[in-house]
C-alpha cells in the first residue's frame, strides 16, 4: 500500500471532553478514503486536524513523513497548497461572485494573467457542471449549486489531496446522488487522494475505495467496502443495520 498520509495516535480534548482518543489511520495515495461514523463521534474534529485547523494534544499527522502538527505557519502555507477542501456548508466568500470565488486561490498563489485565470475558472466550472453564472453571488444559488461551486474552488489549484466534509449533508436525495457522482468522477479523472467524512452509508459506498469507521474517538475498522460490509464487529453491524439497538449509544 502506497501511504500518503499517516495519522498516529491522535488525541484531542476540549475542556474535560475527550473527542479523539488515539486515532491511527493510513491514507492511501490516489484513493478515496471515507470515514464513516455517527454524529458526534469526532470525525469533523479529526478532519480539521489533517489540514491544520486544529492542533492535537498528542500525536502526529505525517504527510510523506513530515509532521504537519509541528509545521510553522509559513511552511504550513506551502504544504496547504497541496490541499483542497470542500466544506459542509460550502464556506463560499459571500462578498465575491462565483467567478471571484473560484479564482481566489489562483489570484492569491499564482502569477497567471487574468485571461489565463478566466480560462481555468471556466474549465473548472464546466467540470462541475455549473452553467453560465459567473457574475452571480453565492446567496443567489441553490444548495446543490453552492456545493458544486465549492467543489470547483477546491479543485482549482489541481490539489493532490482533497478533503470532503459531509459532502451530501443538507441536500435532497437526488442532488446528493448527483454530487456523489460528481465527486467520484472528478476524483477518478484527476487522480487526487480523497478523504471524505460522512454519516451516510449511501454516500460512503458510492465514493469509497477504502472505508474507515470512527466510533467514540477511535478508528475501529479500516478496510475495503466489501470487507466493511462483511465485518463482524458489532458496532459496524449496528451501523450497517441502521438501528438504535446495539453497542453504539447516542449521547443525548
Amino acid at each position: 500500500m502506497d501511504v500518503l498520509i499517516e495519522i498516529r495516535n491522535l488525541h484531542k480534548s476540549f475542556g474535560s471532553q475527550e473527542v479523539l482518543k488515539g486515532v491511527n489511520l493510513q491514507i492511501e495515495r490516489g484513493k478515496m478514503t471515507v470515514i464513516l461514523g455517527v454524529s458526534g463521534c469526532g470525525k469533523s474534529v479529526f478532519l480539521k486536524h489533517i489540514i491544520g485547523l486544529l492542533k492535537p494534544d498528542e500525536g502526529e499527522v505525517l504527510l510523506e513523513g513530515e509532521d504537519l502538527t509541528r509545521a510553522k505557519e509559513v511552511r504550513m502555507n506551502q504544504i496547504l497548497k497541496r490541499f483542497g477542501m470542500l466544506f459542509q456548508n460550502a464556506a463560499l466568500f459571500d462578498s465575491m461572485t462565483v467567478e471571484e470565488n473560484t479564482a481566489f486561490p489562483l489570484r492569491e498563489h499564482t502569477r497567471l494573467a487574468p485571461e489565463e485565470i478566466h480560462r481555468i475558472v471556466q474549465e473548472k466550472l464546466r467540470l462541475v457542471g455549473l452553467p453560465k453564472i459567473e457574475t452571480k453571488y453565492p446567496a443567489e444559488l441553490s444548495g446543490g449549486m453552492r456545493k458544486r461551486l465549492a467543489l470547483a474552488r477546491a479543485l482549482v489549484m489541481d490539489p493532490e489531496i482533497v478533503l470532503y466534509d459531509e459532502p451530501t449533508t443538507g441536500l435532497d436525495p437526488i442532488v446528493s446522488d448527483v454530487i456523489e457522482d460528481l465527486i467520484r468522477e472528478t476524483q477518478q479523472r484527476l487522480g487526487h487522494t480523497g478523504i471524505a467524512i460522512t454519516h451516510s452509508l449511501k454516500t460512503c459506498f458510492k465514493l469509497a475505495d477504502r472505508v474507515a469507521m470512527m466510533e467514540d474517538g477511535k478508528i475501529i475498522e479500516c478496510t475495503t467496502p466489501e470487507g466493511f460490509r462483511a465485518s463482524t464487529d458489532p458496532r459496524v453491524r449496528q451501523f450497517l443495520a441502521s438501528t438504535s439497538k446495539g453497542p453504539i449509544k447516542i449521547k443525548e
Binding site: 489540514i51 497548497k81 464556506a91 466568500f93
Partner: protein, 256 residues
C-alpha cells in the same frame, strides 16, 4: 463567601484571556505586516471604508460640537469678561481632546461594529477556515488591512473633525455672538501651536489601533451562530469605547 472569590477570580481570568488575545492578534499582525504578498487593493478598500465613508458623519459631528462648545464657553467666559478666549478654548479642546476621542467613538460605532460583524460572520460560516485551507493567512488577509487603515485614517478624520469644529466655533462666535472675526482668528493662532495638533494626531492613531484591534479580535473569536456574532459586536463596541476612553486619560497625562 467563596462565591465572591470565585466570581472575582473568573472575572480576572476572563480579562487576562481577552487582553492576551488582543495582544496576540497585534503581534500576529506585526509578523504578517512585512511578509509577501502585499494586497494593495484590500488596503485601499479598507481605507475608503474606515476613512472616506466616515468623513461625513465625522465632519457633521465636528461642526456641531464646535458650535455647542463655543456657545457653552461663551456663557462661562462672559462672567469673567474673557469672551475673546472662545476661539482658543474651543480649538485647543478640539485638537487635543474632543477631535480624537469623539472621532474614535464615532468610527467605533460605524466601522468597528461593521468590521466585527463581517469577520464574525466569516468565522461562523467557516469562511475563515476556508481562507486557512487555501493557504491564505486570515490575519494577514482580514485583520492587517483593517488595523493599518485604522492607524492611518483616524488622525486624518480627527484633524477633519477639529477643522469642522473650529469652523463651527467661528460661526457661533462671529455670527451669533457678534465677536469680531479678527479677534477670533488672532487669539486662536496666538494660543494654539503645532504641538497641540500633533498630540491630537498621535492620540487618534493610537485610538485607531485600539478600535480596529478590539473589533477584529471580537469578530475573530465569535462563535455560536448569528446570536454569537451579535453578542460579539456589542462587546466589541463597548470594549473598544471603554478602552479608548481609559487610554485617553493615560495618553493625556503622559503627553500633558
Amino acid at each position: 463567601m467563596f462565591r465572591i472569590f470565585r466570581y472575582i477570580g473568573r472575572m480576572v481570568l476572563r480579562a487576562l484571556e481577552e487582553g492576551g488575545g488582543i495582544f496576540l492578534l497585534f503581534f500576529q499582525s506585526l509578523y504578517w505586516l512585512f511578509r509577501a504578498p502585499f494586497r494593495g487593493v484590500i488596503f485601499l478598500q479598507q481605507m475608503e471604508f474606515i476613512g472616506t465613508k466616515s468623513s461625513f458623519i465625522v465632519g457633521l459631528t465636528g461642526l456641531f460640537t464646535g458650535m455647542v462648545f463655543a456657545l457653552q464657553t461663551s456663557y462661562a467666559l462672559r462672567l469673567f469678561d474673557l469672551e475673546y478666549m472662545i476661539g482658543p478654548s474651543a480649538v485647543l479642546s478640539l485638537t487635543r481632546e474632543l477631535g480624537p476621542v469623539l472621532t474614535a467613538l464615532l468610527v467605533t460605532g460605524r466601522a468597528g461594529s461593521a468590521m466585527c460583524t463581517e469577520i464574525g460572520t466569516m468565522r461562523v460560516t467557516e469562511q475563515i477556515d476556508a481562507l486557512h485551507t487555501m493557504a491564505v493567512s486570515p490575519v494577514q488577509y482580514l485583520v492587517l488591512p483593517r488595523i493599518v487603515s485604522g492607524v492611518l485614517m483616524l488622525p486624518l478624520l480627527a484633524a477633519f473633525f477639529s477643522l469642522m469644529g473650529a469652523l463651527g466655533g467661528y460661526l457661533v462666535a462671529v455670527h451669533m455672538l457678534g465677536q469680531s472675526p479678527n479677534v477670533f482668528i488672532t487669539e486662536t493662532l496666538y494660543s494654539v501651536d503645532a504641538n497641540d495638533f500633533y498630540i491630537g494626531l498621535i492620540k487618534a492613531s493610537v485610538f485607531g489601533l485600539i478600535l480596529t484591534l478590539v473589533s477584529c479580535h471580537k469578530g475573530y473569536q465569535a462563535g455560536g451562530g448569528s446570536a454569537g456574532v451579535g453578542k460579539a459586536t456589542t462587546e466589541a463596541v463597548v470594549l473598544a469605547s471603554v478602552t479608548v476612553l481609559i487610554s485617553d486619560y493615560f495618553l493625556t497625562s503622559w503627553m500633558y
